[in-house]
Each structure stands twice: as structure tokens, then as C-alpha cells.
Amino acid sequence: MSGPNEPLLEVRDLAVQFFTYQGTVRALEGVSLSVARGEIMGLVGETGCGKSVLARSVLRLIADPPGKITAGAIRFKGRDLLTLSRREMRRIRGNEISMIFQEPMSSLNPVFTVGSQMLEVVALHQAVGREEGRRICVEMLRQVKMPDAEQVLAKYPHELSGGMRQRVMIAMELSCRPDLLLADEPTTALDVTVQAQVLAILEGLTRQRGVAVLFISHDLGVIAQLCDRVAVMYAGGIIETAPAGAIFAAPRHPYTRGLLHAIPRIAARQESLAVIPGSVPSLVDPPPGCRFHPRCAERFFPCDRVVPPFYEPAPGHRVACHLHAGEEGRRSWERS
């Protein structure tokens, strides 16, 4: 069973493939990640790096076919989610792990009022009557600082703005008191001033209730402002994991460094932006060795041959790059 020091969620050596007409897409390979209780873990990467696939795999929402989880384990509170029956998995979804998506309009049903959709969720997970359910809904909406909470219940999703819809989603997802919230780019579709409001609400409520969050974003700024730890993904794998302070102050992987230097910042003066040459490789036929090596300015002889293992240059800071190999690593390249 789960001990006190065991992470809430632990993904180990996960591999996910999609079988398409263009060939087998190796969307995730050898992905390991952990989220502690009450922690906000950031998962950052560019389009197509596999961050959403990872989140969906945790809830076993990968469409099969064409997708398949081909290897690995996902341990949640000591149980391997990949071995559970469909029924057991359904009890986990929503109750213990819930998820918020990027576009709240597609997560809400356009033909039912917000109130009826929220009541459905409340009734499904808690044994309460109609009146009590309604009271809970209003209370939930108040907690996400929704103005006119009572009136909002009678409205349809299209009558709300993007920011209000996302608040409704947060209220619904947290109503079941999950231990883990998967948030997949929840503020990407919003304007910055509204994004700041929604993130403040999300952070406040999850910290207050001790809900762990796996926060997925392509925006390093949002990740920096919100997360305790960060994992950086590139082309289907995690390449660096560290506490947020360490990863932004002293990034170790050339890709992480490149990303940070490519952002135009308002606090600094940059004549021209640092550039990562080329573009993201195809996952049907990914480069051998380190998947980043064709774009890496610091590549050397093992990079195009040997997949780099994780090295730990500082406590809690793990990086998959040959630059950080010690003597032992060097010997292993000579063998291969």
C-alpha cells in the first residue's frame, strides 16, 4: 500500500504509440514522472511533444485504436492504473483524478444550462438531494469568485465568457474533492488579464485543499509563476526535471536553455533572440540517440548513437543529456 513518502502519482517508463497510415507514431517513450501530494507539478513543452498524451494516459483516455499504451506503469496511491478494470477506472476518474481541458466550450454541453450540468456532477459523486445539490453548486461558484453565482446556474455555456466557462470547469472538477487535478493548457485560450484571474483562483483553491496538480503548458512564464517542480518534454520524452527555481535559474539541458533564451521578455533588453535552429522532428521516424541532437549546438560523439540516461547533477535535478555524464557514462559509450 502507499506509504507516507510515496508519491501520489508515479509514471514509470511509459510508452505510448499510435498506429496510423503514415506509420507508427512513437508519441511517448521511456517517460517517468512523479507528483507528490499537494504539489503543483509543471509539464512544459512545445506542440506535439506528447504532454497531452501523457495526461490522457494517466486517465486511460487514449483512444484505442489508433493509440496504445505499450509499456510502463502508472501508479496512483500505490495501485497500477494500467491493470485496473474499466469499472474501477471509472470510479477513479472525477472522484480521485479530474481533468480540465484547454477549451472549456468543448467540455461543456451547449444545450444544457450550467446549473443542470453542475448538478449532474454533484449528484453523481455525492448523495445529496436537489435543494442541497443546488446549494453546493452556488457555493462552488462562489469559491471560484464567480459574480452572480445564482444567476449563472440558469445560463447556457455560450452566454458565459471564456474566463467564466473555465471557472465553471474548475468549480466542477474540484467539487468532487479529487487528490489530483490534470490541467491541460487551461488558460491558453484566454487573454492575459483573464488568465491571471483564473490562475490565481486555481492556485488558491488547490493549495488550500491540498490537491496535487499536473499543470501542462507551453508557456514557460505561466509554469514559472505557478509550479513547485517542472518537467520539460521534447519529442515524446522528458529531458529535464527539477524544482522550479533550479530549472529557471540554472537549466542544464541545451533544449531548456534554448527555450528560455527564445522568449521575448519585458524585464530584459534583447537585441536579437536566441534561436533553436530547425524544427521538431517527426515521431514516426525520430532521430536515433538523443532526439534533440540534430538541433543541438553542443552535440558530440555519443549524441547520435546513445539514448542519454538521466543524470543527477544536483539533488532533485535530473537531466537526460550526455554533457552531464561522469566517468561511468563515458565508459558505457565506449562499450556501445
Binding site: 491571471a196 509554469i223 509563476q225 529557471f248 522568449i263 521575448p264 536566441a274 533553436i276 524544427s279
Partner: protein
Amino acid sequence: MGAVVEAQNLIKHFPIRSGFLGRRVAYLKAVDGVSFSVERGETLGLVGESGCGKTTVGHLVLNLLTPDRGSVRFKGVDVRHLRGKALRALRRNIQVVFQDPHSSLDPRMLVKKTVGAPLAVNRLARGAELVQRVKAMLAEVGLNEEHVYRYPHEFSGGQRQRIGIARALITGPEFVVFDEPTSALDVSVQAQILNLVKELQRRHGYAYLFISHDLGVVKHMSHRIAVMYLGIIVETAASDSLFAAPLHPYTRALMNALPEPDPARRTMRALLAGDVPSPVHLPPGCRFHPRCPEVQGICTQRAPELREVKPGHRAACHLYR
């Protein structure tokens, strides 16, 4: 030096029609009195949140929409009165790069035809000469000569945006509008495109109107910046001056809402409550007053004018009277 492009008091209201007879029931006040000018070799950044009217301003300047009132002058000539040959010459000199490199290129056209189209339409080149000029243009935006005989789907997003830039610049325009050119791109690719756009300006002295919702991007690209809110410019200044000391409460809120990639400084603060009001039913007085943290009595009654607070730094706010 005179301005390449000058917009004066642009107004564009879109009618909202309803019912069987299509009566005009209201107006969406997309642009409600916007003035600015752009000089040779200069970039004016236009920044604001979705729905603030920045794209409509771009379309008005491009002469793709006709303003209800106000004028756009290109090198001193009011573009509204141009016809025939003179209008075609104007279109050669004013070009645009759109946001989405996937939908702004015809999927069934070879790169040669897409990039060469402005030359062909304006009868500037044909045959072997056209191909030569397309190749030279592709080289200038960082693509290869052999890309001439490829289709858009064979390129990545960043490469497609380079094609869009090549198409805009091939006629040698004096003024280019960039409408969110990197919003659909990842940061690593965005940096490539932004550097390219800047470098091309340094080389050729184009005047740019750079439209974006991203303050960081606008700061990086622009010499001067205009901040838009609900159809008007609320603050305009040289880039350095704006970021050193923003005057308008909206500009300040926008800057504070920006998540800086630095966990040591938790800068992101939600200073504003609520959403942007509808541009159909504008609030009376200052249109920012319902969300303004520094609202006073006068704000609900009178709309502030855009006036110079410091040399070259103008704001539309009653705080500076």
C-alpha cells in the same frame, strides 16, 4: 522625415442586423477614433486583448475595409481617392503577413505561384525572371531555392510563415502590416521569425505595423507602441518609455498580468476583475472605468482624451489632467 503611413481618427462601426428585414439593431464599435503614424524604418506595435479592434485597424490601413470616418494617408495621399493604376501601385507598396500560416496559403498552389503571385498580378515579372526573383526572395527569408516547386503541406509552421513573409515582401513594399505573425508558432520557432522580420527591416528600411496580443513580443519588435482597449488607443509611447513607466491603469494591469519566466519573482498579479465589456454596449465615460482599480467620479461621466503627459508619451486617462 515624413510619415509613410498616417491614420487619422479612424472609425469603423459594424452594424448588427436582426430579424427578417435585417434591420440594424445596434452597432459594434470596433474602431472608435484611432490615429497614428509610422515612419520609414520604424515599427509601431499595436497591442491589446482579443476584441479590442487591433485587427480591424490593420484592415483599415491596408484598405481592405473602408473607414466610416477618418482617413488613411500613404505618403501624404489619401488612399480613399485612389483608383485604377494608382490604387494598384498602392497595393504593391502596402503588404500584409497574416497570423495563421496554414490558412493563408493556398494548399494547391506551388510556392512559386504563391510567392510569385504579387509579381504576376502587378505585371512586374514573368517566366524565367519571375522564378529567379522568387528564388532570390526565398533565399532572403531563409528558405532554399529548391523549395520553389513544393506545396505548403510539405513545410513546417515556421517555414510556412517564411513563405508568407516572402510573398509580402517580393514587390518591395514600403509598409508591411504583421497581424499576429507568430501566435500560431512555438517559442523556439517564433524567435526565428521575429529575428528574421527585424533583420529584413534593418536591411531594407520597411515601415512596420506590428499587431500582437503579446506584450513581450511587441516590446521586442517595436520602436513605438500603442495600447488598444475597446476600439481606442489608451496609451502610446516609445517602447522604452512605455515599459519604464506605464501611465494608463490598463497598461499597468496588462504588464502585471504577464507571467514572467522567473519563479524568483512572482510578478503575475490579477489587478483587473471581470471581463472586457462588449463593444456593442460601451460603458459611459471612460470605457475602462468598470474594471479600473483607480476609478474616480469623473471617469463614469466623461471620456478622457489621449493627451501628452510627458514628451512623446500620451495617455487617455483622467489621472493625468
